[in-house]
Symmetry: none
Subunit: 350 residues, 2 copies
């Protein structure tokens, strides 16, 4: 038994002595400052963990009662975000953890800077944070981890650096599956109706599409690749553009369901029948795909499962477990519905 453990007084100075460093150094570790050598940090962390020392902030956290996780979305206006939220709520309910919901687009006059928000989340003693937004920089996200608030990012636009845990889906494989399905049906003129150029997940889907074409030696035609956004209007505009081509595509793989539905609406307006004249595949597999007429063939993301996994990662980190991996991709699943069929040329006349 060590000196510290014998005496009742568990002070920062005692921790310092125990770890063989100075008090200021322990202070820096506790407050998540980054001017501490990794080795020193882990030495101090070990003593902190062993002695169960609680900083004032951590004591505050204990007083706060029930554990709560901060969940931050950019907005809650898509089937996508709702499903992720439902997954988080599900796992939180099971673990008896409160969910504090924040939507950055719904900020009042006192709009918080990311720094202010970070300070508040730490000060208020959240047991973890789930982020479905690009409102935080990688550095800020890592700062949460260092301050003892385990943080998980869901489907980041770009994979976060450092120690930040992120959860996504197998976008590349999903894109390949969708395109292979269209190729299997006999399509050769297949368009990619894409989302935002800068989004990692969109790029992965596009490259899955390209990979499927190349695997079958189908030449890539740049006119069939139209980038846009993840919103419905992008589908409308993209579809207009594609239908003006001399040789329009016989199939379209859209970057998500919302874009696909925009494309479907435009096709209908131009009397292009789906799936007879045009096959259409979406991505996400939300209820939008199910309820559309015709029901949309779509690459389903396990959105609820992603939300659940995010919360479970936080629980594990709270228990002090180390994670196997900083990045997890859950499998997508192509769900074939009514919006895809062989191209008309291949269907024998009745």
């Amino acid at each position: 038994m060590t000196a510290v453990e014998q005496r009742g007084k568990l002070t920062l100075a005692a921790i310092a002595q125990e770890a063989g460093v100075s008090a200021p150094t322990v202070s820096k570790v506790i407050n998540g400052r980054d001017d501490v050598a990794a080795e020193t940090r882990s030495k101090v962390m070990a003593v902190l963990a062993r002695t169960g020392y609680k900083s004032p902030v951590q004591q505050r956290r204990n007083l706060a009662g029930r554990q709560a996780v901060e969940v931050v979305f950019d907005s809650l206006d898509s089937a996508y975000s709702i499903e992720v939220l439902n997954g988080i709520l599900d796992a939180a309910g099971a673990a008896d953890i409160e969910v504090l919901l924040n939507v950055t687009s719904k900020q009042g006059p006192s709009r918080l800077t990311p720094e202010q928000r970070a300070r508040r989340i730490v000060d208020e003693g959240r047991c973890g944070m789930i982020v479905v937004t690009s409102a935080f920089s990688e550095l800020q996200l890592d700062a949460f981890n260092r301050r003892g608030v385990p943080t998980v990012v869901i489907d980041p636009l770009n994979p976060p650096a450092g120690n930040v845990v992120s959860i996504g889906a197998t976008n590349w494989a999903g894109g390949k599956d969708a395109t292979s399905h269209l190729l299997d049906l006999g399509h050769r003129r297949i368009a990619y109706l894409g989302g935002p150029d800068g989004a990692e997940c969109n790029q992965a889907r596009l490259h899955g599409y390209l990979a499927a074409l190349r695997a079958r030696n189908v030449p890539v035609d740049d006119r069939y690749i139209v980038q846009g956004s993840f919103r419905s209007e992008a589908g409308v505009r993209g579809m207009k553009q594609l239908l003006q081509l001399e040789e329009p595509p016989t199939a379209v793989f859209a970057a998500n369901d919302t874009v696909a539905l925009g494309a479907l609406a435009e096709a209908r307006r131009q009397n292009v029948r789906v799936p007879e004249d045009l096959s259409l595949v979406g991505f996400d597999g939300t209820y939008q795909a199910e309820e559309s007429v015709p029901a949309l063939t779509s690459v389903a993301q396990p959105l609820q499962e992603m939300g659940r996994a995010a919360l479970r990662f936080i629980l594990r980190q709270m228990r002090g477990e180390t994670l196997d991996s900083r990045r997890v991709e859950l499998a997508t699943n192509l769900v074939i519905r009514e919006s895809t069929a062989p191209p008309l040329a291949l269907v024998p006349l009745a």
Copy 2:
């Protein structure tokens, strides 16, 4: 303005200076020690109150119990609930209040009874509660109010008794507007494709429909009134039933947009064109109505506004204001889109 109020730093020493005593004396007052003269104590207390100084313990308590409103939904799987939630988040963001989101269908193994939930909400010091669920009885809801947690119910299945504040929309007037619109177009065989029999709001819409028919001396035909649920399947089934009638209706007023979209899907399957062969009106006016093809004529509820109003009611009660009314109905608004047209018989042949 005093010295203390001018400087930003609100420290114990500043309070002491302001009160004309020493720092230790202020410390004693704050910590409830009894070796302080009554007069000195009250002098210090006055300054504390005026400046709003908080001791570390008080700050801790404040941080732990930062004002948060408990929001309880049955589930988050409809456009309806999402819009209400967004309204709540909007007003909460503006008022700098946290939102604790609970979904009763997402309870873990330790499913709470309403009593347990109530105790917890009170014990944890929520500043208010917004309920979009029928998980609580009227008595339980009233108990929250009595225990000092102002409670507001949004669109209750049945209007709550006692002191419970509830917010709804003008369902009766909306039902009347929808039906009058169809009558104005020339329809006489108008069906009501309803939601759950027991729901107050559904009954109000139905009675609005009946009132509109009676006002124009159009006889009510019971075969045109089909009750169901608020889900898509109810629209599919109800539409099947109506299309089997010897004289099917030329127009359908559906209890909500989801039911209307189910009806639309079934109509399309049976090659009944909307609006040429059948006019269709929904209720709620969510994005579902906008994005459908054809876009759905619908009675828009101010769902976001209802969420906002609920939160503002709580703020008012927190400030001790008395409310004018225990029940508020916000106005609906008929939005005419593409799914309604005169009945075919009235359209002159081209």
